[in-house]
């Protein structure tokens, strides 16, 4: 407890950093749930593929050595574009192959759920077996650096050195931490405005609230669902870039734990609710840090889920718990 008070600022800031990543990934779960009332279990892998896009594009560009955050800004901007394209693309693939036919045929939810879980394994293992896949295609020689040792950790070729920039309490906040928190908040704001103010956003909300009435208005639900997956993928791509700035390493299996946490964050905030995803993510990140501080780091997962259960006991629909469409100010 004394430790928590003495290091409150640091634990809070670093918790917010991780929470920001949770929140951005949680958006993908919450958007798809809002529109289809289905949990997209493959979303964790959409994020994972984004982290690899960051590694690959920087390898391709020949980035190396160490750099300050500002010095790597050009690389990171390109990496962001690559990650967004990759995650967005993978999300569309998931929608196309794991969802569309089943949704159109009104398949029972559990069947679609299984299909999504299957897609998640496939995506993860494609990454984990990419050397063999490249081999089948006869591309192993060409792709060498990108596909070798697929089950080992892949690290960012350029190492980003965080610099202290801002004193909060007794903690010097690093530039990378500031960047991550601010970027996540900006993305949340942009998305919120997009959903509330644009015609596309209105269509997403309409389909979320009443798909049949929406199609009577001329909404093309296939397009709306596709757009929803795409937005979730884009957010996961941003999250993947921020994650790589912070952690700097990824693996074919990093999606699972992060996905479970992000999903928890979405449920905590109220699944289907965009602002709930943000709130849930940030609270989860901070709570994990506080609990690790007080009880020991081996308690962080326990804490996360105890917190979830407690919140759901009091508020079964989550902290802000309303559906996507109702989630307007």
């Amino acid at each position: 407890m004394e430790f928590l008070i003495g290091n409150f600022a640091e634990l809070t800031i670093t918790g917010l950093v991780l929470g920001s990543v949770y929140a951005l990934v949680a958006l993908g779960y919450t958007l798809v749930y809002g529109v289809l009332q289905l949990i997209n279990f493959a979303h964790s892998e959409v994020f994972m593929w984004g982290t690899y896009a960051v590694v690959w594009v920087l390898t391709l560009l020949g980035a190396s050595g160490t750099s300050s955050l500002a010095g790597a800004a050009g690389y990171l901007a390109i990496a962001l574009v690559a990650a967004v394209l990759m995650s967005g693309g993978v999300a569309l693939i998931v929608e196309r192959f794991a969802y569309r036919r089943l949704v159109r045929q009104n398949a029972p939810k559990y069947i679609i759920l299984i299909s999504a879980i299957g897609a998640s394994f496939v995506l993860s293992e494609i990454m984990g077996l990419r050397d063999k896949i490249a081999g089948f295609l006869g591309l192993q020689g060409v792709l060498g650096d990108y596909v070798n040792n697929p089950r080992n950790t892949s690290t960012l070729p350029v190492e980003i050195k965080p610099e202290p920039v801002l004193q909060i309490g007794n903690y010097m906040v690093r530039d990378t931490e500031l960047l991550i928190i601010i970027s996540a908040l900006i993305m949340m704001f942009v998305l919120d405005q997009f959903i509330r103010r644009t015609s596309f956003g209105r269509q997403i909300r309409a389909v979320a609230q009443d798909p049949e009435a929406a199609s009577l208005m001329g909404a093309n639900s296939t397009n709306v669902v596709r757009l929803t997956f795409l937005i979730g993928g884009v957010m996961a791509g941003v999250a993947a870039t921020l994650y790589m700035i912070k952690v700097g390493a990824t693996g074919f299996n990093v999606g699972f734990v992060l996905g479970v946490k992000a999903f928890t964050a979405a449920v905590l905030g109220g699944i289907g609710n965009l602002r709930g995803a943000l709130l849930g993510g940030l609270i989860l990140g901070i709570a994990e840090n506080y609990a690790s501080g007080i009880l020991g780091s081996e308690w962080r997962d326990v804490t996360a889920f105890v917190l979830l259960v407690l919140v759901l006991l009091v508020r079964p629909s989550g902290l802000l718990g309303e559906s996507l469409g109702r989630a307007r100010a």
Partner: protein, 382 residues
């Protein structure tokens, strides 16, 4: 007993068949007589995929060299092949794989299990089946205290590593205060606790992180920096060890970072990046000699792994079993007896086992310093 005699007869029979066929058709000698049952397997149980896959790769190098040496030393012996069983080092996955090996009558001995956790999960079954296991790398102290008749290891346990690591931190590094982190695995807790015991009140803080459950260690990092410790010892595996060191350095930690044999592989350096410069890694394993490297270079098999920590121990473990088979022990019972009675020079140390399966007369513990992005040659801690 009758079965054994029958198989021994068979050995003689097939051996003569081999000789005959060798005379008749020299080109066929390497294949042995067709229809021969004189072909056995040794198995490896450890991680070939997953975060710790490097250990499997390193062990594979040792086993493949041992197989080549076996073929050269016992040209008339039974054909022996290796089965690589990928447990991912996971105690939850290992039992089913062990059961497969036990049910495979061709398997006469196991090199492994690689990790302490999977050893705890599978050794009771091996022991019951009488299938001998010789681990190159499972170092948790308590493993030899369970009364498993089939458990052997060619490596010193953490009981030797922990005091040596403590000595490294105090004498070589010169740290007055140490923060100890373990990864809540069977191996990490054992090693971490051993170091805490050896360091006594020099330990000013400790934390336990869940292996594989996160890549963000900010709370742990805060604890370390808040404690003001001069050195950190992480008892766990390479990926997490690298991430923790990187995040410590990013948070301004300037003390010495050390970890154990679990982190002694290139993934650690790749993950930590520049932060890994000056890190110490301890292991009850020395370097591979030039001979060993030359033999590895000469291997012609397509997948021969790579040389790293515990490659030489894997060689010794494999050789203990293979030489037994070469000397005519072709039942599990005989191989087990052979291993228990083994007394010969290995490439890492003299190999002779105590009754509990520990190597008699512990081998040395070494430290490896990270410099210029690579591990320097090991230095003995004494």
């Amino acid at each position: 007993m009758r079965a054994i005699k029958a198989s021994q007869l068979l050995v003689v029979g097939v051996a003569s068949a081999l000789v005959l066929s060798a005379c008749a058709a020299p080109a066929d000698t390497t294949e042995g007589g067709s229809g021969s049952t004189e072909s056995f397997s040794i198995a490896y149980q450890g991680p070939l995929t997953g975060a710790d896959a490097k250990y499997g790769e390193y062990a594979k190098a040792g086993i493949e060299i041992a197989l080549a040496d076996y073929a050269a030393a016992y040209p008339d012996g039974p054909t022996v092949t290796a089965i690589y069983s990928d447990s991912q080092g996971d105690p939850a996955q290992a039992p089913a794989l062990a059961a497969d090996l036990i049910n495979n009558a061709d398997v006469l001995g196991v090199v492994g299990p690689a990790f302490s956790g999977e050893t705890e999960a599978t050794e009771p079954a091996y022991s019951e089946a009488g299938l001998v296991t010789v681990s190159p790398s499972a170092t948790r102290v308590s493993l030899s205290e369970q009364g498993w008749s089939t458990f052997f290891r060619v490596v010193a346990n953490d009981g030797a590593q922990a005091p040596a690591a403590a000595k490294l931190l105090t004498d070589v590094v010169g740290a007055k205060t140490v923060f100890v982190i373990d990864d809540a695995s069977a191996y990490g807790v054992g090693l971490g606790d051993g170091i805490k015991d050896a360091l006594g009140d020099k330990v000013i803080g400790s934390d336990s992180v869940e292996k594989g459950s996160t890549t963000d260690f900010s709370a742990t990092v805060t604890k370390v920096t808040a404690s003001g410790a001069e050195a950190v010892y992480y008892a766990g595996y390479a990926t997490d060890a690298g991430l923790i060191q990187k995040q410590l350095t990013a948070a301004g930690f300037e003390g010495t970072y050390a970890s154990g044999d679990g982190s002694l592989e290139s993934t650690f350096i790749e993950t930590a990046g520049e932060a890994s410069e000056g890190a110490y890694l301890t292991a009850a394993a020395g370097a591979a000699g030039d001979d060993f490297v030359a033999k590895w270079d000469a291997l012609t098999v397509s997948d021969k792994g790579s040389i790293g920590v515990y490659s030489t121990e894997a060689y010794d473990a494999a050789w203990v079993i293979l030489s037994g088979i070469g000397e005519g022990n072709t039942t599990r019972e005989d191989v087990l007896a052979w291993v228990a009675g083994y007394d010969a020079e290995g490439i890492t140390k003299h190999i002779k086992f105590a009754d509990n399966g520990e190597i008699d007369g512990a081998g040395g513990v070494y430290y490896y310093l990270v410099k210029d992005g690579d591990f320097e040659a090991p230095v003995a801690i004494d």
